[in-house]
């Protein structure tokens, strides 16, 4: 800690001195100054110091100022200024010791002169909404001159003839071309860049802002405008398909719309349960890593409207600045800041999302009659037994309505004719409508954002508030949240010091109710397809689950709580509430020591607090069954409660805190416009701490906040006569601290705007238990080259070629062997469930053979822009070679562990990212743009120790020469005469195995990869005046999946028979094997149903191709023209509507299944993907 304080003290000293520095000096009447090739800014600064006059000017206009040569000796200020402003495109006024610098207006004479030959064109560059766009650049095609728009968007182009083509460009806006037809004045409107990535000039690595022209690495950039292109609620959904090489999946459970996963360029390490590596890219928000990872819901806390830009760092050179955290790539988010010298601007936007009502019938389902027939067959074959006849002491779980009818016929209580009548009546029920109407709902999301931004002379602010409210597909499942953000940029000491602060507070409240999911499952409490929820008159129907009605009523008569169960009732009960709070404060101080040297000290403090609460209300089915099961009867018939009557409350808490502190020196030096040098050197410390605990309370009643103390270790008798103990009521308190100390450096040198070399190095040191520094920390580095061909003399004049550059990088990165040490490491696990004593285990034995995982990555890129930017894009090719990947390998169990970690596997990955933009048509009011993104990624594992497949195919096994996402299948041989599966030996022709054969040798064949190697998107945007229409198609080519079919049929009353329609095609009688492929329900001697079904469901008979093309989304927007708005004080008003998940246009599999939304068979009900719609209104005033 002492070190941190030392560092902080030094920072304070450093800053104070720099502030003092700039205000020092004495005032004199006259100016004495000798400077050559100086910036006007620094010259004016000297004059200010010597005279005490104040200067007002904008940074932008100073950038256009010419370098100044002065030699003044005791001259007065008027004279001094005259010398300085000679030949400048600027002029000035002096008023009361204040000098105001302005843009020079062309004189009348200038204008007249130009009229006769060449003339000066006066242009005005405006944004879409009519606001001026200062700083926009305009170039005359075929000339080298660049003009920049002034603060009111004015621009003056000299020596014009009248038939030139103008090329306009600006950061964040689309480049455009315009042919002159002799106009003397023109208005140029620039449109914000949408899916035109190559136009973006600045990339952020989180540590620095780079000019893209000089960046050697591979970056993918998405701007706020592009995020607005498809304004749906989830940021991840908006990002889908925008960046080549970035694969985003938003498939989530229970309709939670914000979550998902991001994968950048495949994998560079292999994930297993042992090696504790994550596949999440590092998420960096405003320079510091996010407290939550992407898969843990980081995007829940981010207001999509706060995002200014997202940069994906894809290759080693781009990401190496982040060291070992960057193993899976880095995603850098920069948030919006206010603009200095601007009036307050309010922005309000609201998004409403909804979709069709979900239907509970995805996949092929059995008919009611067939379902009952399966139940009957299982009973006839002795697989399901009559619970009423059970003789053991265990109270039997209740059976289904159909089974009860069949058993009662078997017991002779009804005749076979009555049985068939009752079954036929039952088969008329179908609860899928009721499930859809009573347990499901169309998911909706409402999202509101309000922000305020603006700035004064020396500071700017951005404040935003965001709130969302989401109702999911399953009833009683909601998610709510808000986030607040305030950021401020202040410039002190005449721009020498900039202080940036960012405070953000976020909250999410997630309510999960399991009633619908449970009712739709095949497990205890799951509805059979004929189990209605309500009768014809709308009354709820109650079921018995825990035990058969006879016993249940008997127990209720003895004082047990009611056993009845209705999923509709449970919608109100037993909710899980996950509440999360997130606070983040960033503070950065930038000091400019000279024009080329700066220091930056920044810090971050974060806190997260989350609570998980599961409350079973005393009336909930869960609580009633818990109490009932814990109750026994004494010999006199008195109830003995093993568990107190009432509800149950489980609480889990976790706390996280993190801080970072960073000191950095930046060098930006430019000599003679020939040499440009950028260097940054820094170090940082970072600590992350987490703590969590949990507890359970019994007999809880929230209405009065009361609970009962229980003895966790004393046994009690349960309903079934078995002795039980409550067990530990409080979970262990776990704490974890990780610390890192890093040194980093990054530099680039550009010669003559043509050649750039760059290099980056980082040294990370972590706290790894018991490992010495030599093994703990290694330096990681990268290097890159870039050649801007367009700036070469021999290419410069090719008019159709607007841009051409080539770049290449090579980098070395690694992963530390986290969690393994040369000494045994203990895991303390809290109190033992039975003994109550604290216990622990040796989490990892002493391992002293482990080293780093190393990844070498090479990247080649080509960026181009042709025919006035009508065609532009980039093509990249990369290879990744990971060695010494840590993997668990078997060792002799005699050592006490049957496996340990070794540096073993090698992984070779490669891929191509292609992003292309076309403008097929451009007219005055109409523009058609097209984007095509193509990504390819594949990998192969190499290590001779990973033998060719033998027995088990869990993801924990790797095979030499196969990709990490392999799929192996049995070669299907059909069914034998007994209706059981046959598999073929792929090597011995004609050899087949029955279910009674257990071949040990490798008999499965490689079917393909489970991810598509080719994927991407194809989009069109049409703009007509204020209207915009976009389509986005997503495609995936290659890869395989297994069609879900029959997996299990349910062998007891606690597991229902699933409704998979394939079961209907099963083998029934000998002879069926001629056409049937689904194994029959065959039990008894010489049969093995599990084996039979297992081989069928893992056979190549069910292999399908993943290839498909989907119409992902369609968007339409309309911006109200400013002339209708101005009178209301409104600057912009935009309406947009998006439709998503519009279905597959083409699929290679014949069943037309969506491989991203495969249902699980064996379940009773599955939710089909439904189209969703969102509507957005955005208003600026």
């Amino acid at each position: 800690m002492a070190k941190i304080f030392l560092v902080m003290r030094l920072i304070v000293i450093l800053l104070t001195t720099s502030i003092l520095q700039v205000s020092a000096g004495t005032y004199a009447q006259n100016v004495t100054l000798k400077q050559t090739g100086a910036h006007l800014t620094s010259v004016l600064d000297q004059i200010r110091k010597q005279t005490g006059y104040d200067f007002f000017y904008s940074q932008g206009m100073m950038e256009r100022a010419k370098l100044v040569n002065v030699d003044l000796n005791k001259v007065d200020i008027e004279k001094a200024l005259e010398v300085c402003f000679t030949g400048q495109p600027l002029t000035y006024t002096i008023n009361n010791k204040i000098v105001t610098v302005m843009e020079k207006q062309p004189s009348f004479l200038d204008k007249v002169a130009g009229y006769f030959s060449s003339y000066t064109l006066h242009g005005k560059v405006l944004k879409e909404n009519g606001e001026p766009l200062p700083g926009a650049s305009v170039r005359v095609m075929g000339q080298n001159k660049r003009y920049q728009a002034g603060k009111e968007g004015d621009i003056f182009l000299d020596d014009m003839i009248g038939d030139e083509i103008l090329v306009t460009s600006y950061i964040g806006y689309k480049s455009d071309t315009l042919r002159l037809h002799g106009e003397r004045t023109i208005t140029i409107r620039m449109r914000a860049a949408a899916s035109n990535l190559t136009e973006v000039d600045i990339v952020s690595t989180g540590y620095q802002q780079l000019n893209k022209e000089r960046a050697t690495g591979s970056f993918g950039i998405v701007t706020a405008k592009e995020l607005d292109q498809f304004p749906v609620v989830s940021v991840l959904e908006r990002l889908q398909g925008l960046v080549p090489g970035v694969n985003i999946s938003t498939k989530t459970t229970a309709g939670k719309s914000r979550n998902g996963t991001i994968n950048i360029r495949g994998i560079s390490t292999l994930v297993s349960s042992y090696t504790k590596v994550s596949t999440d890219p590092l998420l960096v928000i405003d320079g510091f890593p996010s407290q939550q990872s992407i898969t843990n819901g980081a995007f829940d806390f981010i207001n999509p409207d706060d995002i200014q830009q997202i940069t994906f760092l894809k290759d080693a050179a781009a990401a190496s600045i982040w060291g070992i955290q960057a193993a899976n790539g880095v995603i850098v988010i920069t948030t919006k800041k206010g603009i200095r010298n601007s009036k307050p601007v309010f922005n309000f936007s609201t998004t409403f999302g909804t979709s069709k009502r979900p239907r509970a019938n995805y996949g092929k389902m059995m008919s009611m009659t067939d379902y009952i027939a399966v139940e009957k067959e299982l009973i006839d074959k002795g697989i399901l037994r009559d619970p009423v006849l059970t003789t053991t002491g265990i109270l039997p779980e209740n059976n289904s309505q159909a089974q009860a009818i069949i058993f009662s016929a078997k017991r002779g209580e009804i005749t076979d004719v009555q049985r068939d009548q009752q079954l036929a009546a039952l088969a008329k029920n179908d609860n899928s409508d009721q499930v859809s109407n009573l347990l499901l709902q169309p998911p909706t999301t409402r999202q509101y954002n309000l922000s305020l931004s603006g700035g004064g002379i020396n500071s700017s602010y951005f404040i935003s508030g965001y709130f969302y409210n989401e109702d999911r597909s399953y009833k009683s499942n909601t998610n709510r949240g808000y986030s607040l953000k305030a950021s401020n940029v202040s410039s002190l000491a005449n721009g020498h010091v900039t202080v940036t602060s960012d405070l953000s507070v976020g909250n999410t409240r997630d309510k999960i109710n399991g009633a619908a999911v449970r009712a739709m499952s095949i497990f205890s409490g799951g509805l059979r397809p004929y189990d209605m929820l309500e009768d014809n008159s709308g009354n709820k129907i109650y079921y018995d689950v825990t035990t058969v009605p006879l016993i249940a009523r008997n127990l209720e008569s003895k004082g047990y709580l009611p056993f009845r169960y209705s999923p509709i009732d449970e919608l109100d009960y037993s909710n899980t509430l996950n509440t999360s709070n997130n606070i983040n404060l960033n503070l950065a101080v930038n000091g400019k020591i000279t024009s080329w040297l700066g220091v930056n000290v920044s810090g971050n403090i974060g806190r997260t607090y989350s609570e998980n609460e599961i409350y079973w209300e005393p009336d909930s089915y869960e609580a009633r069954m818990m109490v009932n099961k814990g109750t026994s009867l004494s010999s006199t018939g008195a109830r003995i409660y093993g568990l107190p009557i009432g509800g149950k409350l489980s609480l889990g808490n976790s706390l996280g805190r993190t801080y970072s502190l960073r000191g950095q020196v930046d060098v930006h030096k430019n000599w003679e416009n020939k040499h440009e040098l950028n260097i940054l050197i820094g170090n940082e410390i970072r600590e992350q701490y987490t703590k969590s605990s949990s507890e359970t309370r019994y007999g809880y009643d929230k209405l009065i906040n009361s609970y009962r103390i229980v003895n966790p270790t004393v046994g009690y008798k349960d309903m079934y006569g078995t002795t039980q103990t409550i067990g530990a009521t409080s979970g262990p308190v776990t704490e974890k601290t990780t610390r890192a100390l890093s040194y980093y450096a990054n530099g680039s040198y550009t010669f003559d705007t043509k050649y750039t070399v760059s290099g980056s190095a980082r040294f990370d040191d972590y706290n790894l238990l018991g490992v010495d520094r030599r093994k703990r920390a290694i330096p990681l580095w990268s290097a890159g080259l870039k050649w801007n061909l367009k700036n070469e003399e021999f290419i410069k004049n090719i008019s159709w070629l607007n841009q051409l550059s080539m770049r290449g990088t090579y980098g070395f990165s690694g992963n530390a062997p986290q969690g393994y040490a040369p000494v045994a490491v203990i895991n303390l696990l809290g109190n033992d469930y039975y003994t109550g004593y604290p216990y622990g285990l040796i989490a990892t034995p002493a391992v002293d053979n482990l080293g780093w995982e190393k990844t070498r990555m090479i990247n080649y890129g080509l960026d181009f822009s042709l025919f006035n930017s009508r065609v532009s894009g980039s093509v990249e090719y990369y290879r990744k070679h990971s060695t010494d990947i840590i993997w668990s390998m078997p060792i002799n169990g005699t050592y006490g562990y049957s496996s340990t970690l070794f540096n073993t596997a090698n992984l070779d990955g490669k891929g191509v990212d292609i992003g292309l933009n076309f403008i097929p048509l451009i007219e005055k009011d109409f523009k058609w743009t097209t984007t095509l993104n193509i990504s390819y990624n594949t990998n192969v594992v190499h290590d001779v120790r990973f033998k060719t497949p033998t027995g088990s195919f869990s993801p924990e096994n790797l095979y030499d020469g196969y990709p990490s996402d392999y799929l192996f299948s049995y070669v299907w041989g059909g069914l034998d005469a007994t209706g059981q599966s046959l598999i073929k030996d792929p090597k011995i022709p004609g050899k087949t195995y029955t279910v009674m054969d257990y071949p040990y040798q490798d008999i499965r064949e490689y079917s393909g990869r489970t991810t598509s190697p080719w994927y991407g998107s194809f989009g069109h945007t049409f703009q007509y005046k204020q209207w915009e229409l976009s389509f986005q198609f997503m495609y995936a080519l290659g890869g395989v999946f297994r069609k879900p079919s029959v997996v299990s049929i349910g062998f007891s009353n606690t597991v229902n028979v699933g409704r998979s329609g394939d079961l209907d095609e099963r083998w029934r009688v000998p002879g069926d094997e001629a056409f049937a492929n689904v194994p029959g329900l065959v039990f008894g001697a010489n049969s093995n149903y599990f084996q039979s079904l297992g081989r069928y469901s893992e056979s190549d008979y069910l292999i399908r191709s993943r290839s498909n093309v989907k119409l992902q989304q369609v968007m339409m927007s309309y911006s109200v023209p400013p002339r209708f708005l101005n009178r209301y004080g409104i600057k912009t008003l935009t309406f947009s509507a998006v439709a998503r998940n519009l279905g597959m246009i083409w699929a290679a599999n014949k069943e037309n299944l969506d491989p991203d939304y495969l249902y699980t068979t064996g379940n009773n009900y599955q939710l089909a993907p439904v189209p969703s719609f969102s509507f957005r209104t955005s208003l600026t005033f």
């Binding site: 030094l10 020591i593 000191g663 002795t723 706290n767 002493a846 078997p890 005699t894 040990y1000």
Partner: protein, 457 residues
């Protein structure tokens, strides 16, 4: 800007860059850490899952307690190659990459015990008696584990050949990748005895939970070890030492159907249990005949096949955990009842038949309802010995302990008999003292470390 100021900045920055490495090396204590404190070792020695493993399902499947005559059960067994091999005394059990989790579980415990034994005395924060107490516990647990291993995978101890018969690798330090040559049976036994004796003086007389060995359990272990070595004098002496400290037997009449949890059962001196049991255990006719229907152990632990899944014709073993809840499996470690019967056996072998009969009658009064109880009698010490052996069989059926008796009693000519069972139409036999009594090592162990020799098939 003055030049010296720039230098001053640079100096300050370079100082700030020299943050020291202690920042990443001195991190606050947390849940996962390097073993350091005595409490850490105490926590390891509270890990009941690790402490309680005695053996797996091989002993009970191989023993004559079971006889799967029912078709449903035979059919079940056919689908499980490992159980099938155990049941028919055929080798190998574990082929290809299949692991022998029984072996692995015992050695996994030994790694932890070795860690404790080698390091606990140097740990921080505990008093010397506490440290040596933990050391004593680890010594007894390790001794018990090796005693199990050598009897499962080695030949029955025979004083004449024990120094040559391969036992098991004797690992005494927590190290990966050392030589795994099997130590001779004699050497393993020596180490078991040495460790247990070393533990006795530091062990307390009483422990709060029976996962922790106390002094009586150490004596009981020695008594059992010497019994297996056929040193009946020493076995009797240590049985006496045990019973002098702890002699409480559980009376099945006290509260039928409501057993005390085996965590609290006074009879249990050191709780160990089997890692796994077969789902259904059909009891052999031979055993059922010996048991008779009056014995409380019959009414409690035997149920008709209709109560099981799959349903079968015959009688199955209704294990103790069916009364006391799932994890409370029958204790097969060290117990007062077993030590009681060891003492009786030693007395019988010493020719003291009356004392044997008295001990047995005292014992059996707690195994019958008073109305059903009749005294036993023995004409000579040989008959007395037979009564003891029979009582052992009735007391421990279904638990796997019988297998060790079968193996051990082969050394007594009157018990050495050939067993046979029919499976899938084939008759399998097991000759006394044959290789079938020595379980095979998993193939993968031999493949990984060829210095280990396989047991003869």
């Amino acid at each position: 800007m003055y030049l010296f100021t720039k230098k001053y900045y640079l100096l300050l920055l370079s100082v700030s860059l020299l943050s020291c490495r202690k920042y990443v090396e001195n991190v606050p204590l947390q849940g996962q850490r390097v073993l350091e404190y005595t409490d850490d070792y105490r926590a390891l020695m509270n890990y009941t899952d690790l402490l309680q493993t005695a053996f797996g399902q091989a002993p009970v499947l191989s023993s004559d307690d079971l006889d799967y005559t029912a078709d449903a059960l035979q059919s079940n067994l056919k689908t499980n190659v490992i159980q099938r091999s155990m049941y028919t005394w055929r080798k190998p059990f574990y082929v290809e990459t299949n692991s022998d989790y029984d072996w692995n579980a015992l050695y996994s415990g030994i790694y932890t015990f070795n860690t404790v034994i080698n390091q606990v005395m140097d740990s921080k924060g505990g008093s010397a008696p506490i440290k040596s107490g933990i050391l004593g516990e680890a010594l007894v647990h390790r001794a018990f584990s090796y005693f199990m291993l050598v009897n499962l995978y080695g030949k029955q101890y025979d004083a004449t050949t024990a120094d040559k018969d391969p036992g098991v690798p004797l690992l005494l330090e927590p190290k990966l990748f050392v030589d795994l040559t099997r130590s001779p049976v004699q050497q393993v036994y020596n180490k078991v005895i040495e460790d247990t004796k070393k533990a006795i003086p530091v062990l307390p007389l009483k422990q709060d939970i029976n996962f922790r060995p106390n002094r009586a359990s150490a004596y009981a272990l020695l008594s059992k070890v010497y019994l297996f070595m056929r040193d009946f004098t020493k076995a009797a002496a240590y049985a006496d030492s045990t019973l002098a400290l702890s002699a409480e037997l559980y009376d099945y009449n006290t509260n039928l159907n409501n057993f005390p949890s085996q965590y609290n059962d006074k009879q249990v001196l050191l709780r160990k249990t089997s890692r796994a049991y077969p789902n259904v255990m059909q009891l052999s006719g031979d055993l059922l005949n010996l048991l008779g229907e009056k014995d409380l152990r019959y009414s409690l632990f035997v149920k008709p096949g209709a109560n099981f899944y799959p349903v079968f014709t015959g009688f199955g073993y209704w294990s103790r955990d069916r009364y006391s809840g799932f994890p409370d499996k029958q204790a097969v470690g060290l117990s007062v009842n077993e030590t009681w019967l060891i003492k009786a056996e030693c007395l019988a072998r010493a020719g003291k038949k009356d004392e044997v009969v008295k001990m047995l009658n005292d014992f059996r009064k707690m195994r019958f309802k008073p109305a059903d109880y009749t005294d036993l009698a023995a004409a000579n010490s040989e008959e007395a010995l037979q009564l003891v052996i029979k009582e052992r069989r009735l007391e421990f059926f279904g638990t796997g302990l019988r297998w060790f008796d079968q193996k051990r009693l082969n050394k007594d000519p009157m018990y050495a008999k050939t067993l046979s069972r029919v499976f899938d139409g084939v008759t399998y036999t097991l000759e006394p003292n044959s290789n079938g009594y020595v379980f095979p090592l998993a193939d993968i162990l031999i493949n990984q470390n060829p210095e280990m020799v396989q047991n003869p098939y």
